[in-house]
C-alpha cells in the first residue's frame, strides 16, 4: 500500500475514536474515499486498531456496503425492493445484466460500470427505480434503461 493511502487511512482513524465501535465507521469512510476495501487497507486498519485480522475481514465481508474489489466508474443501482418488484424490477435488472454482461455485485472488465441491487431507494412512488451514480431514473422500461446506460459510456 502506498504512503498516500496510509496517510488517508491514518486521518480517518484519527477522526473516529479508536477502540469501541470504530471499525465499521472507518471502513465506511475508506470505502467512500477509495471506492473499495483493499486487502492491504483491511490489514492496516486491523493493525492500527489492534484487532485481529480475522475480525477485520469478517466485518469487511459481512456488510453489503463494503466491496473488496474496485468498483466501476459508474455505479448502477437497480432497486429490487418490494414496491419495485411488483412493478417488474426483475426484468429491468435482467436487462441491465445482459446489456453490461455482469451480474449484480460485479464490475465490467473496463471498470466503466458496476451493478448493485438495492432494497428500496426510498422513492417507491417512482417504481421501478434505477439510480446511476447520483441520478435517479423513475418508472423506467427495459428499453429506456438501455439508452440510459449508453449515456454513461
Amino acid at each position: 500500500m502506498d504512503e498516500g493511502t496510509k496517510t488517508i487511512i491514518d486521518k480517518l482513524i484519527k477522526k473516529h475514536k479508536p477502540g469501541e465501535n470504530a471499525v465499521v465507521s472507518i471502513f465506511q469512510d475508506v470505502q467512500e474515499q477509495q471506492g473499495y476495501l483493499s486487502e492491504d487497507a483491511i490489514r492496516y486498519v486491523s493493525e492500527k486498531l489492534e484487532i485481529p485480522v480475522s475480525r477485520a475481514f469478517s466485518v469487511a465481508t459481512f456488510y453489503s456496503a463494503f466491496s473488496l474489489t474496485p468498483l466501476g466508474r459508474n455505479r448502477v443501482h437497480v432497486c429490487l425492493g418490494t414496491a419495485c418488484h411488483i412493478k417488474g424490477a426483475d426484468n429491468i435488472a435482467g436487462r441491465i445484466s445482459r446489456q453490461l454482461k455482469i451480474k449484480p455485485g460485479e464490475t465490467t472488465g473496463d471498470r466503466k460500470f458496476s451493478l448493485h441491487k438495492v432494497r428500496c431507494l426510498g422513492c417507491c412512488a417512482l417504481a421501478p427505480v434505477v439510480k446511476v451514480n447520483d441520478d435517479t431514473y423513475a418508472g423506467v422500461s427495459q428499453d429506456q434503461v438501455v439508452s440510459v446506460l449508453e449515456k454513461y459510456r
Partner: protein, 568 residues
C-alpha cells in the same frame, strides 16, 4: 444562548414564527429522498433563478415530505395574509409560473392541490395563521386542506411538522412547540413520573415486537450498571418502506427530543442513533440537528441546570437487514458483525458494551414528547385497546397514490388503501396485501377489513411491524411474490444459526420447484413442517418468520398454488 428555563424558548419561538410566515414570501420545496428523486433540487434552483429574473423577493426553503410522495416535487407558497398554497408535480418547467403567482396574486390553478388557511398541529396547541379574513374568489377553485380527505382522515401527531418546517432549522421546530416537552420534563418532572405517564399512555414499540415502552424503560432504570445507553433504532432494512427515512429527513428534532427524554428517564449518559447505511441525507440532517441542540444547551453537560448530562451520536450501519434486530444492532454498534445475541440477558440488563440499554424504534421515541406534553391519558384516547396512538404507514405497490400517512391505530386496512391510495392504479381488483414488511404474511382481499393494530393483524396472521402496507392487484403472480420475499431472507440471513441459514435456502429450492410446475402435495407439506421447525428453532425473528410469506400463500391462495402443481 443556553436554554435554562422553559421561558427561554419563547424568544426562539418568535424567531421561528417569523420564518414560518414571513412578511415577504416563503416558497418551500419538498426535498426528502422522494422529492429529490423527482428532481426537487432542480426545482429549487429554477425557482431561485426565476425570482432573480422576475425581480421578486421570497425566502426559498427546503422542507421535508408531507407524505404525498406521488405528487413530488411539491412546492408551497406562503404570502403574507394569503392562504398557503400547495402545488404538486412542480417540475423545473413550472418554476416561472409559480414565481409569477407571487406578483400577480393569482395561484397556478392547474397544479394547485390545496389551500391552507391555518396550520394547526394535531394537538391543537400551536398554529400558524396564513389567511387574514376570507380567502375570496381567487382561491375558490382550490381545495381546502381541512376538507381534503388525504389530510382530514389522518391524525398527524408524530409527523405534524413534516413538510411544513425546514428540517435544518431548530427555530422552526421550536416555533411549533418543539422542545417544550423537554423543558417541562427537566424543570418540573421526575424520571419516575415520566415513566408513569408513558405507562399510562400504553405506548407500544413501533419497531416490530410491540413491547410496552414504559415497561422497557422501567426495567432499564432498575437495572444495575455504571453507565446506561439509549439507542434509537433507525435501521429500517425492510425492502419497501422509507417512511422513517422520510420522517427523519423532515423533522429530525422530534426524534432527538424523544431520545433525550428517554435518556433522562433511564439515567443514560449517552445515546446513539443507528441508521441504515443508505440514509445519507437523513444522517446529515440529524447531525445538523444534534449540533443545533448542543449549541443551545439541550444536549451536553448539565442540561437546563437539571444535573442531567447527555450526548448523542449518529452511526450508519453497513447494510444488513438483520442489524435491525436489537441485539445484532448492538453488536454492529460495537464494531462487530451484526449477528444477534442470545437473550436473556436482555439489552435492558446487558446491552451496549455490556451496560443496561434501551433500544427503541425511532417512531416510538418521536411519540414521547407528545406524551410528556399532554399526559399519558390524553395519548391513550387515540387508537384501540390493543394499540394506543397513531402509526405512520407507508402505502406502496399497486395503488394509484404511493404515499405515507399517519392514522390512528385501528384504522381499517381497506380504508387506508381507498382514502390515501385511491385504490389500485389500473382499477383492477385487489388480490392481496401485506403488512409489516417481508416477515408479514401475504393476506387475501377478503381480510381487507382487518384493523391496523397489533392484535387484529396478529389474529389475521400477519403483523404491524414497522408499518409497511403493500397492495397487490389481481395480475400479481402470488407465488413469484413469495419467492421474492424468501429470496430476500436468503440474501439477508446472517448465517449464525443452522435452521435459518439452511432453511431459507431449502425454502427457495422448494418454491422454485413449485413455480416451475413440478410441485406436489409432498412439497407443500415439507414447507409447512419447515415453517414450524424454523419458528421453533431459529435464533432470531428473521429465521422464525422467514417461511411466513410462502406458508401464508399456501394457506390463503390454494387456487393459485394448485394451478402450478404438477399435473398428474
Amino acid at each position: 444562548m443556553k436554554i435554562k428555563k422553559p421561558e427561554d424558548l419563547r424568544k426562539i419561538k418568535t424567531r421561528g414564527m417569523i420564518l414560518l410566515s414571513p412578511d415577504t414570501a416563503r416558497i418551500t420545496v419538498g426535498t426528502a429522498t422522494c422529492g429529490n428523486a423527482r428532481g426537487a433540487e432542480k426545482t429549487v434552483n429554477a425557482i431561485k433563478r426565476e425570482l432573480k429574473r422576475q425581480g421578486v423577493k421570497a425566502d426559498v426553503v427546503k422542507v421535508g415530505c408531507n407524505g404525498m410522495c406521488y405528487a413530488e416535487p411539491i412546492v408551497e407558497v406562503i404570502r403574507s395574509g394569503k392562504p398557503r398554497i400547495t402545488y404538486g408535480y412542480a417540475g423545473v418547467d413550472r418554476a416561472a409560473d409559480i414565481v409569477k403567482s407571487l406578483s400577480t396574486g393569482k395561484p397556478v390553478e392547474d397544479i394547485a392541490l390545496l389551500r391552507h388557511d391555518e396550520h394547526k398541529t394535531a394537538d391543537g396547541i400551536e398554529s400558524v395563521k396564513y389567511s387574514k379574513g376570507r380567502p375570496g374568489r381567487t382561491y375558490s377553485g382550490i381545495k381546502d386542506y381541512n376538507k381534503c380527505d388525504f389530510f382530514k382522515k389522518q391524525k398527524k401527531l408524530v409527523s405534524r411538522n413534516a413538510g411544513t418546517i425546514n428540517p435544518e432549522s431548530m427555530d422552526e421546530y421550536i416555533a411549533l412547540g418543539g422542545y417544550s416537552a423537554l423543558a417541562k420534563a427537566l424543570t418540573s418532572m421526575k424520571p419516575e413520573q415520566i415513566i408513569n405517564e408513558v405507562k399510562t399512555s400504553r405506548l407500544r414499540g413501533r419497531g416490530g415486537a410491540g413491547f410496552p415502552a414504559g415497561l422497557k424503560w422501567e426495567a432499564c432504570r432498575r437495572a444495575d450498571g455504571e453507565k446506561k445507553y439509549i439507542v434509537c433504532n433507525g435501521s429500517e432494512g425492510d425492502p419497501e418502506i422509507g417512511m422513517h427515512r422520510s420522517f427523519l429527513e423532515s423533522d429530525p428534532h422530534a426524534v432527538i427530543e424523544g431520545i433525550i427524554l428517554a435518556g433522562y428517564c433511564i439515567e443514560a449518559q449517552e445515546g446513539y442513533i443507528y441508521l441504515n447505511d443508505r440514509y445519507v441525507l437523513a444522517s446529515e440532517r440529524v447531525k445538523t440537528a444534534i449540533r443545533q441542540a448542543e449549541k443551545i444547551g439541550l444536549l451536553g453537560k448539565n442540561i437546563m441546570s437539571s444535573g442531567f448530562s447527555f450526548s448523542l451520536k449518529v452511526k450508519r450501519g453497513g447494510g444488513a437487514y438483520v442489524c435491525g434486530e436489537e441485539t445484532a444492532l448492538l453488536n454492529s454498534l460495537e464494531g462487530s458483525i451484526g449477528e444477534p445475541r442470545t437473550r436473556p440477558p436482555f439489552p435492558v440488563e446487558k446491552g451496549l458494551f455490556g451496560m443496561p440499554t434501551v433500544v427503541n424504534n425511532l417512531e416510538t421515541l418521536a411519540n414521547i414528547p407528545l406524551i410528556v406534553e399532554h399526559g399519558g391519558k390524553w395519548f391513550a384516547e387515540t387508537g384501540t385497546p390493543s394499540g394506543r396512538g397513531t402509526k405512520i404507514v407507508a402505502l406502496s405497490g399497486n395503488v394509484s397514490q404511493t404515499c405515507w400517512v399517519e392514522v390512528p391505530l385501528g384504522t381499517k386496512v381497506d380504508d387506508i388503501i381507498k382514502t390515501f391510495g385511491r385504490g389500485t392504479a389500473n382499477g383492477k381488483r385487489i388480490k392481496a396485501f401485506q403488512t409489516g414488511g417481508p416477515s408479514g404474511g401475504i393476506l387475501p382481499a377478503r381480510l381487507l377489513k382487518t384493523k391496523l393494530d397489533y392484535d387484529s393483524l396478529a389474529r389475521a396472521g400477519t403483523l404491524l411491524g414497522s408499518g409497511g402496507l403493500l397492495v397487490m392487484d389481481e395480475d400479481t403472480d402470488i407465488i413469484c411474490m413469495a419467492r421474492f420475499l424468501t429470496e430476500f431472507f436468503a440474501d439477508e440471513s446472517c448465517g449464525k444459526c443452522t435452521s435459518c441459514r439452511e432453511g431459507v435456502k431449502r425454502l427457495l429450492d422448494l418454491i422454485d420447484t413449485i413455480a416451475e410446475g413440478c410441485g406436489t402435495e409432498d412439497h407443500l407439506n415439507i414447507i409447512k413442517r419447515m415453517d414450524k421447525a424454523m419458528r421453533d428453532t431459529s435464533f432470531c425473528a428473521l429465521g422464525k418468520t422467514a417461511a411466513a410469506p410462502i406458508a401464508s400463500v399456501i394457506k390463503h391462495f390454494p387456487g393459485d398454488v394448485k394451478k402450478r402443481m404438477l399435473k398428474q
